[in-house]
Amino acid sequence: MGEAIVITSGKGGVGKTTTTANIGTALALMEKKVCLIDTDIGLRNLDVVMGLENRIIYDIVDVIEERCKLHQALIKDKRFESLSLLPAAQTSDKTAVTSEGMETIIKQLKQDYDYIVIDCPAGIEQGFQNAIAGADKAVVVTTPEKSSVRDADRIIGLLEKEEMEAPRLIINRIRNHMIKSGDMLDIDDIVQILSIDLIGIVIDDDEVIKSSNHGEPVALTPNSKASIAYRNIARRILGETVPLQSLEDEKGMFSKVKKFFGMRT
């Protein structure tokens, strides 16, 4: 029986789709059976980031409205046999998807896959409710900006009302020089305010944009910083204890690493 993880944020554009694509890819790299679901109806992106757009025939709304079987709508990844994508609909009416519809699909997918990773739309409306409906766990993505942290806090508040494990946090697009100069919130401050476990930090890395333009998730590149960060997150999802990546090129972060992982595991 698999586990469904929703990737959410509240605020738009902070990296949910990127995170979904990369966590999914990294888990597949570790030989897990993974299915990604794009729930951003009308603004589907995940297929583009995964480089699978040209393979789409059916989508999630077709499944819900029974125009096709679930397995017909699943797209096999071009790199990993064990990785699939259930794409969002690009044109259909948003109201086609319901929480019950999502729950049914996820329940079915959990029979066949180890991990279901759900890409959530921005906002707190029905799309968000649908995305979290069938999830067992949640990962909240924020950037080190006040507004993004504020929205993450709002989302965590909403998630806490659900029957779900406490969500875990990813801080994305960190720019070390800005943190150092005091122009960006630092990791400690964010974790203190949100007071949920940190499951990863990802620096702002041009490689992310480059590779998503090529439809190749950055987690596939051997040693860019963001790539390592995503693979570390995947390992933590699998239950390994992996220290946080150093933001510096030297080993300046070690004390911080100890602080987060010493305390919480």
Partner: protein
């Protein structure tokens, strides 16, 4: 009409008049007697107001009846009603008092977009995050970080206080006073409290230690008993 016993005893004290009203006779009789008795009192010629305390004993008066009583007395020369005391209150009022004076302990984080409303005093073990809000009719004590909005004494109690382990709030509100964070980025303060300064009628922040001087009876029950 003439055969009735004394329903009202008037006592002069240093602070004015005290009217002791027998709690066994009818209200009409009392109003009537009051009208007659007070009509007799000579207006003092220095024009000073004489304060009147009415003691109802075990009689319960509703709001209109109290107003009526009040009107009869204040229509007389130089008299004003200081208070109308009764030994009894309604069950409802008593329950409201109890509710109002309890300290409710809540153990969670008030996150952005969440509002926690409480009757009485709040002991919050946890933070109020930016965008979060706590509102109480009594005092607010926070063992944690106050970064959002706290509103104490929301029904108008200006003696209410807001205390926190750490505070760097967006706004503090006590009764109808509001103070907001400065527009520049400020460091917060540890173990301090917000109270209304009686002289300026503005919220000031001070160390929690001043509360033992400035808010002697923080215990909500005593405070509200004496405030009515």
């Amino acid at each position: 009409m003439h055969e009735k016993k004394q329903a009202i005893t008037i006592k002069g004290t240093r602070d004015g008049l005290t009217l002791l009203i027998d709690d066994t006779c009818s209200l009409e009789a009392i109003f009537k007697e009051l009208d007659e008795k007070l009509g007799d009192t000579q207006p003092t010629n220095d024009g000073k107001l004489v304060s009147v305390t009415v003691k109802l004993g075990h009689r319960y008066l509703n709001k209109e009846q109290k107003e009526q009583l009040h009107d009869i007395i204040s229509q007389k020369n130089n008299l004003f009603v200081q208070s109308i005391d009764s030994e009894v209150i309604q069950r409802e009022e008593a329950l409201a008092w109890k509710e109002d004076s309890e300290v409710k302990t809540i153990n969670r984080i008030i996150r952005s977009g969440q509002v926690l409303e409480i009757t009485g005093d709040l002991l919050l073990i946890g933070d109020v995050n930016p965008g979060g809000k706590v509102v109480t009719t009594g005092n607010i004590y926070i063992m944690g970080n106050l970064l959002g909005i706290a509103h104490a004494g929301a029904n108008g109690d200006k003696d209410a206080v807001i205390a926190a382990s750490y505070m760097n709030p967006t706004q503090l509100r006590i009764a109808d006073c509001i103070s907001r964070a400065p527009d520049y980025e400020a460091e917060g303060v540890y173990m301090e409290c917000g109270i209304i300064d009686k002289e300026t009628d503005k919220i000031v922040i001070d160390q929690v230690q001043v509360l033992s001087q400035k808010r002697k009876s923080l215990s909500g029950f005593e405070r509200r008993m004496s405030n009515g």
